[in-house]
């Protein structure tokens, strides 16, 4: 039913929620845990910020560390109390009646406003029946709302574990198209694949033709798939690119298994040295001009 220790996780989140709200709010919320009717869950889910306020969570290190250990890749960093309260409510839903459970959550998605969507999508890795949320996750990737995309892309272990290659590739392409911070996408390098590399290279050529800038993180996803064409692209980056482009080309060559790429990199000893000295990595690229 679950792919992690959901029971313990629920206990910890409930405890953390309780320590973050007033006695009165706790009374209101905990009553909803027992409510059998979906309508009570629906309105409690919507009303949450009215009851809890929207301040950042007060950190309880012990609980915090254990929570993040139970679901690697998940984080409470930057969460507000209303978001925590909503997650807490979702975790109380009884998953044994599979159909009702999925329908209840799916209906929350259908009527959700932006902050609600953020909670729902960032909770995907915590729901029961993880394989049933594939379509929902792929649908979220189609969103054009920045915060929704970030809830799926950043600190969310669901996509990397469950999306098939096609859906994963869509997520990465969408991240490039919408200017997301690629460093924050969990699993980005592990799930690099030939299909994605080829699409990204086409995309890069399209941008070059239109005289538009290319996010240099694109190249990191090609490093395992260097062929003659890609080698030409890397040469172009080294010869014509900005410092940022050259750094990206160097990192790409360094991470590849291609001998020609590696020997190309040797012509740029200062970049090679910076990588070997651990001064240059994907998080330390020179900012864009």
């Amino acid at each position: 039913m679950f792919d992690y220790d959901a029971e313990r996780f629920r206990v910890l989140i409930t405890e953390l929620t309780r320590s973050n709200v007033t006695e009165e709010t706790w009374h209101w919320l905990s009553e909803k845990f027992l409510a059998p009717e979906t309508s009570a869950i629906n309105s409690a889910f919507s009303m949450m910020p009215r009851k809890t306020g929207k301040l950042p969570i007060i950190r309880n290190n012990q609980l915090w560390v254990e929570i993040e250990k139970l679901k690697p890749g998940f984080t409470l960093e930057g969460w507000t109390i209303d978001r925590l309260g909503r997650l807490c409510l979702l975790l109380q839903l009884d998953p044994t009646d599979k159909e009702k459970y999925v329908k209840t959550i799916e209906n929350l998605f259908l009527a959700a406003e932006v902050n609600e969507l953020v909670v729902l999508y960032s909770s995907l890795p915590l729901f029961a029946w993880p394989e049933l949320w594939l379509m929902r996750c792929a649908e979220g990737v189609r969103s054009n709302i920045g915060l929704v995309l970030e809830a799926i892309m950043y600190n969310n272990p669901y996509p990397i574990s469950y999306l098939d290659e096609k859906a994963w590739n869509q997520l990465i392409l969408k991240a490039f198209f919408t200017g997301k911070d690629l460093n924050r996408i969990s699993g980005i390098d592990e799930r690099a694949n030939a299909e994605l590399a080829s699409t990204l290279v086409d995309f890069a050529h399209e941008r070059w033709a239109a005289n538009r800038k290319i996010n240099p993180h694109l190249w990191r996803l090609t490093s395992k798939f260097i062929d003659d064409d890609l080698l030409t692209d890397l040469k172009r980056l080294f010869e014509e690119g900005s410092l940022r482009d050259r750094q990206a080309a160097a990192l790409t060559a360094y991470q590849s298994d291609s001998d020609s790429a590696k020997s190309l990199l040797k012509s740029y000893p200062e970049l090679l040295k910076a990588i070997e000295n651990k001064e240059l990595n994907w998080s330390s690229l020179t900012p864009e001009e």
Partner: protein, 327 residues
């Protein structure tokens, strides 16, 4: 909801004052009634430039009837979702009111389903009232669903935004107020919209908020509005554009502020009519925090974040309107 346009209504207009908003530069405006779903990004940019910092989008009819409940659901969800996001890209805080409009109250089969759907939306963040509801044809069905929604508003503690009818306006306005009182609603929770010279006095005398829609050809012109502001003062009066899919003007609020200023109305009174009264009325929902829009949002749209160029808060880059080059 706005207007039943007929071409007879459209008389040619003479430009009396050249468009110049410099005299209201630095003023902030709140448009408490504007249907942004029907407007373009050019409108959003112009509104932001003219000083509009926040707005309310009431739920209304789309110019043609919906045929199923899912259309209502998608519409309400767009008001709290996509449209809110679109607005934020231009630095404008977007609120909405949620309700079943009077025209579609006449489709009783559908209206029943909508009444079941409303509780799912009215408690959401940024929903500042039930609206726009009231009368169109003043039928029995309109009466029924108006009353049901008044009860809903009472239960939820939300303000009510009332659309008054185009036809038989004066009686329709009186009837809307009578029914609200009959249901034990405090007039200070009710914003009576689309007033004119004939309706305003009674609305104010009975303790309701009086909103005026500055809308060319079919509703108030802003010169008339200036006269009304002089006559009645700024207490409990607010103006809006009700801009929608018809010929309307999303800059109606700042333009009217400029005209008021030209005609000698004080800055303080202008602020009440074009900003603070609307906030006071709808903040009774507990859903408006002025801090959300008095601190200007970042306008540097190419700000760098963590080494990457990002559009902060998803703000849209500007296009250069003065150039024929599109790049």
């Amino acid at each position: 909801m706005c207007c039943s346009h007929s071409f007879d209504d459209r008389k040619p207009q003479i430009v009396a004052e050249a468009m110049n908003l410099d005299i209201i530069k630095g003023m902030k405006f709140f448009d408490p009634h504007v249907h942004m779903s029907s407007r373009t990004t050019d409108d959003y940019q112009a509104m932001a430039d003219a000083g509009i910092v926040a707005l309310i989008e009431p739920a209304f009819w789309l110019g043609q009837p919906r045929t199923g409940i899912d259309s209502f659901r998608d519409y309400y969800s767009s008001l709290v979702g996509w449209e809110r996001f679109r607005s934020s890209q231009f630095g404008i805080k977007h609120y909405c009111t949620i309700g079943l409009n009077s025209r579609e109250a006449n489709n009783e089969r559908l209206a029943e389903e909508v009444m079941e759907l409303l509780p799912l939306f009215i408690y959401k963040e940024g929903v500042v009232g039930i609206g726009e509801i009231g009368f169109d044809d003043q039928t029995a069905a309109e009466d029924k669903y108006y009353r049901m929604q008044l009860e809903l508003a009472k239960e939820a503690g939300l303000p009510i935004q009332i659309h008054t009818p185009h036809r038989d306006k004066k009686k329709g306005t009186q009837r809307s107020m009578d029914i609200a009182i009959e249901h034990g609603i405090d007039p200070k929770m009710v914003i009576i919209d689309h007033n004119n010279e004939e309706t305003v006095k009674e609305v104010l005398d009975r303790g309701f908020w009086a909103a005026f829609t500055i809308y060319p050809f079919t509703k108030m012109g802003n010169e008339r509005m200036v006269e009304l502001a002089k006559l009645y003062g700024p207490e409990r009066i607010m103006i809006n554009s009700a801009a929608d899919w018809g010929i309307s003007d999303p800059l109606a609020v700042p333009k009217t502020a400029a005209l008021m200023k030209l005609k000698g109305i004080s800055d303080e009174d202008i602020k009440m009519i074009t900003y603070s009264n609307a906030i006071a009325a709808f903040a009774q929902s507990g859903q408006i925090d002025e801090n959300d829009f008095i601190t200007p949002l970042s306008v540097d749209q190419t700000e760098k974040f963590a080494g990457n160029t990002v559009l902060r808060g998803g703000q849209q880059p500007r296009t250069d309107k003065s150039s024929i080059i599109i790049s």
